[in-house]
Every structure is written in C-alpha cells, then in structure tokens.
C-alpha cells in the first residue's frame, strides 16, 4: 500500500528477505522519495534453520511495525548466490507472499548487500561461504558498483581475480572464513547482506512501480547428478 508522506511524496512499506547466508534476515523498510528508512529488522545467524526461522521473523517484523501483510506495497528478496536449500526459503517466501498480496517482487544480488555498503573509494572483494571450500564472490568498484561476479570459485581464484581488478580489501562472512587463503585485509562489517541496502538497490524499481520480477536464484552451480550408467551384472 502506498500512502502520502509528510511532503506529499508516496511512501511504500516494503518487506525485505534474504536467506543466502547463515544470517536469516527479514526487515520492513519504508521507501519514500527521499530514501529508505528501516522500520523493523530481525536477523538470526543459523546455517541450518532457514526454513524454521524466516516465517516467524517476517511475522515479527510486521508486528514490530504494527503493520499487516496487506499494508505491504512491494517485496524485495536477495537472489543469492548462496547454499541452495536455504536460499530457496527466502525466494519462495517472497514469491508466495507477493502472489497473495498482488504486490510486485524485486530481486537483488545478495552480495550487493555486502559489497555496496563496504565500498569506500577503492575496489573491494565481497565474499560469502559457498561450502565445499569455495566462495561466492563479486568485486565492487570504489563507488560500490559490481564490476565482476557473482561467481563461485576457490578462495585462491577469487583473490587472484580481485587483485587484478585492484581490490585492496575483502568483506563478508566468506572473507572472514578464508582470510588466510585470500591474503587481503578483511573489513569487519558488513559480514552478511544488509536488508536496508538491498532495499536501496531496489528503491528505484519500487518508486517507479516497475513490473514484478520472477525471483530466480543465482545458483551458479549445476545440480549434483550423474546420468545413469550401465547396470552392473549380478551374475559373476
């Protein structure tokens, strides 16, 4: 629902969800002509309980803000990359709520929620844990624009690419975890995608009432599956 703000500008109440990292996040923000204001925020770090945590957190942020689902004007979701099972929880939550409420859904690369706010004049490598000793990563220029990625690779490959692009610092949970292998100074915050930043990066689309987007995960990896091979005989 869009309501007129104090200056006559429209204000839109937006739900933001991200489940691409162990930080399961739900937030309510207000997007107006002037900017993005946080209304309520819940985040729990638990890599194994995305399915249990997210819906109660969405419920909680609505309650915290004294809002009802029907007051939402748009939903923004982090598209990953991230471990698939947890990532899908955020996207299916956003897509199904958007369907019921008839409001548009917008996707944002989750790494942008780490790399954009970390940028401070110099290129930066943003990384999250991709398990199997790999990272999901992207490189941002000094203004916070993503210039390469998202990609998935070993820390060594990510670090080499980041250096080529002039990155002098790394950020994100993946950077903490693989600080040694990356061999770049690690910026402490943000460690996980910031909900308010994801909202900022979708704010133009929200204000313009852009068409709803299909929330397709940034998987970056194919499913583990091997085609059936010839059957082994049972006779000796």
């Amino acid at each position: 629902m869009a309501v007129a703000g104090p200056l006559g500008w429209l204000t839109v109440l937006v739900l933001v969800v991200d489940s691409s990292t162990p930080a399961v996040t739900a937030a309510l923000v207000e997007i107006s002509a002037d900017g993005v204001t946080s209304r309520a925020h819940r985040c729990t770090v638990d890599a194994r309980a995305h399915g249990e945590l997210l819906a109660p957190q969405v419920d909680a942020v609505l309650a915290d803000a004294g809002a009802r689902p029907r007051d939402l004007g748009a939903i923004v979701a982090g598209l990953g990359p991230g471990p698939f099972t947890g990532l899908r929880v955020g996207l299916v939550t956003a897509a199904t709520m958007g369907q019921v409420l008839g409001v548009p859904t917008y996707g944002v690369c989750s790494l942008d929620g780490i790399g954009y706010p970390a940028a401070a004049g110099e290129p930066v490598l943003a990384a999250s844990d991709a398990r199997r000793k790999e990272l999901y990563w992207a490189v941002y220029d000094g203004a916070g624009q993503r210039i390469v990625g998202p990609e998935v690779s070993t820390p060594a490959v990510a670090a080499a690419r980041a250096r080529e692009l002039g990155a002098t610092i790394a950020v994100g949970d993946g950077a903490h975890r693989y600080a040694e292998a990356l061999d770049l100074p690690v910026r402490v915050e943000p460690r996980y995608p910031e909900a308010t930043v994801l909202a900022q990066l979708a704010a133009e689309r929200v204000r313009a009432g852009a068409p709803s987007e299909r929330l397709t995960p940034l998987y970056l990896r194919r499913p583990d599956a091997v085609a059936a091979t010839a059957r082994k005989p049972v006779l000796p």
Binding site: F84, T93, A95, T96, M97, P223, D224, A225, A227, R231
Partner: protein, 348 residues
C-alpha cells in the same frame, strides 16, 4: 455444503508439485506440475533437480488450482502442507511456500504427514473412512502397512519394507528390461500380454522363519536380484528375453506379497476395510488381486482412482480437511520440514 471448511493442500515431498483444494470431502481442484521427465535420464529422482523445479512451479501451480476451484486465497480456511517424510530440500520449498501463503493471507497452516495424506485422499472418492482400517501404502519412496485407528491423531505402523520400496523395484526391473522410467506403468502394460505363472520369482519375507520376525514387513531387494539373474542368464545363453512374461511374473510376485500381508493384517485384527494408496496402487494387477482375495473374507478394498494414488496436493488438502473437522490445532510458523517424520505423527 458451503459451510464446510475450504482447505488448500500443498505437496512437494518428491518430484511432483501439487496444489489441491477441497471443501469437506469434495475435491474442487487438483493442480500438478511434475519434474519426472527431468529425472528420467538419471534413472531416479535427483533431489536438487526436484527442489529447483518445485520453486519454479509453485506459484503457477497455485494459480491453476485457484482458477480451477474458482476461489481466491482469501476464501481459504486453512492451508495444509506435507512437512515429511520425503526429500529434505524438496519438502522445504513446499513448507516455506505454505508459510508464505499462510502469512500473507493470515490463515492457519497445518504441517502434515505425507503417508497419512495417502490414506486421507480416499475420503474424496469414497467418503469418510471407517476406523479402524488397514492401509497399504506403496510407492517409489515407501512401502508401509498401517493400522489407522484415528487418522486425525495417529496411525500405528505394522510393517514396512526392510530394503527397497515396491515402486523402486518396479523402476529397477523396468530398466533391466529396457523399459522407461518410472517403471510402474510400462511393466503394468507389458504384463498384460505375459504369463504371470511362467517364472517362479521369490516372495520376500513369506517363509515361516521370516514371518516370525517380519510378519508385516516387505523385502523387494531379493526379488529384484532374482529377476536380474534370470534375465542375464537368458542373455548370456543368447536367448531372447520374454519381456512380457518377466514383467507379469515379477508384478505377480510383488502383488502377491503386498495383498497377502495386507489381508492377513485385516484378518488378524478383525478389520473390514483395506485402503490402498501410493503410486503403486495405480497398478492394475494390485487392484484386481486385492479385490479378488478380499472378497473371500468379506473385506472391503478402497483404492482411489490412479490420479489420486500418486503424489498430489488433493491428498494433503483431504488430510487437512480431516484435521480441521476433528478440531486439531494448527502448526506454528516455525514448523520444520522433516525428511524422516515418523508415521505416528499425523500433523506437526
């Protein structure tokens, strides 16, 4: 009756994305999207492929179900979802979807047991289920014999497969015979032209010594190996494999064990109703043999039509409807997907 609750059911425990809508015992919509073709070249369901397909299919499948039933989510009284057992990642998509729908539409959500839903779906076809009843649930993922004394609160497992599921045996034998995946329908088709008595394949866990410990359990691994040995021996001798006879004899062995154990359970407990569900319940020989044998003992066999036997959303809605009618409390929003949800838990 218009005042009966309107219940929506979501099923994503394996490779079918199902959304069903029922009012009381009346089926209003049963929308399905299947990823079975994406799994065929792997010879079995690939969990990650199934999970990805569920995420893509859930919103459009929901839309089709609502359109088919001519209702909106605002009209729905409660949402039921399979919370287990099944493939963990696949279940999670359905559970998260159900919560998203429930949250946004401000409706209660019920996490329910997939196997109990296979029993409940029969009420859509044959009305309320007499309790107690015996249920035989056979599919690619499960083979169980249950005592259904109170479908709303708990069922008692009597037996289950100790190795392969019955449907899995059909898939493996089909592959051996060069028939497509999933193996149930092509074996059923081939078997019609074959002689079921031509090859004496073993009946697992039916010998006296096995019955002592496994009276109501099943085993299909030995049967599968016996079929493989028989076929390979033919091939090595350079003789043609009589596909129809092998299919018919194999199918007969499976159906013989399933129906004899299910009816033995009915007779031992003095129960007059046998419900059969799961994908293998679509097998024409299983249906015919169960009815033929049950008639002798005055036992009534209830098997829903094939489309309701395989995994679908209507079965979940049917169980949800039964739970709402019985006054069972809904689940909490932190409801987990549980790939190993025990049979004794009908709703979470």
């Amino acid at each position: 009756m218009a005042d009966e609750p309107l219940i929506l059911g979501i099923e994503t425990s394996c490779d079918e994305t199902g959304v069903g809508i029922v009012r009381g015992h009346t089926l209003l919509a049963d929308a399905l999207a299947s990823s079975v073709e994406e799994h065929a070249r792997f010879g079995g369901v690939v969990p990650e492929v199934a999970s990805r397909a569920h995420l893509e299919a859930i919103v459009p499948t929901m839309q089709r179900a609502l359109t088919e039933a001519g209702v909106t989510l605002a009209d729905i009284d409660a949402i039921a979802v399979t919370s287990g057992p099944g493939l963990a990642g696949a279940l999670l998509v359905g559970v998260a979807a159900a919560k998203g729908y429930a949250l946004a539409a401000e409706k209660p959500v019920y996490g329910v047991n997939h196997l109990a839903a296979h029993v409940a779906v029969d009420t859509l076809e044959h009305g309320p289920l007499p309790e107690p009843a015996i249920a035989l649930l056979v599919s690619g993922g499960h083979s169980s014999l249950l005592l259904v004394d109170d479908l709303a609160r708990g069922v008692t497992p009597l037996g289950a497969t100790i190795d392969d599921a019955a449907g899995e045996a059909f898939d493996k034998v089909a592959r051996l015979l060069g028939l497509p995946f999933p193996g149930g329908p092509p074996i059923d088709r081939e078997a019609r032209a074959g002689d079921a008595a031509s090859i004496a394949f073993p009946r697992g866990l039916t010998a006296a010594k096995d019955l002592a410990a496994h009276r109501y359990d099943f085993s299909f691994s030995g049967l599968k190996t016996a079929v493989a040995r028989w076929v390979e021996a033919r091939q090595r001798a350079g003789e043609p494999v009589p596909v129809a006879d092998v299919a018919a004899s194999f199918q007969e062995a499976v159906c013989d064990v399933l129906t004899s154990k299910a009816l033995a359970a009915c007779r031992a407990q003095g129960i007059e109703t046998l419900v059969i569900g799961g994908g293998v319940a679509a097998n024409s020989r299983l249906r015919a043999l169960a009815e033929q044998r049950a008639e002798k003992y005055g036992i009534r066999v209830r098997v829903p039509r094939p489309k309701l036997c395989t995994d679908n959303g209507a079965m979940v809605a049917a169980l949800g409807s039964h739970l709402v009618a019985a006054g069972v409390a809904p689940s909490r929003l932190d409801l987990p997907a549980d790939s190993a949800l025990p049979l004794t838990t009908v709703s979470v």
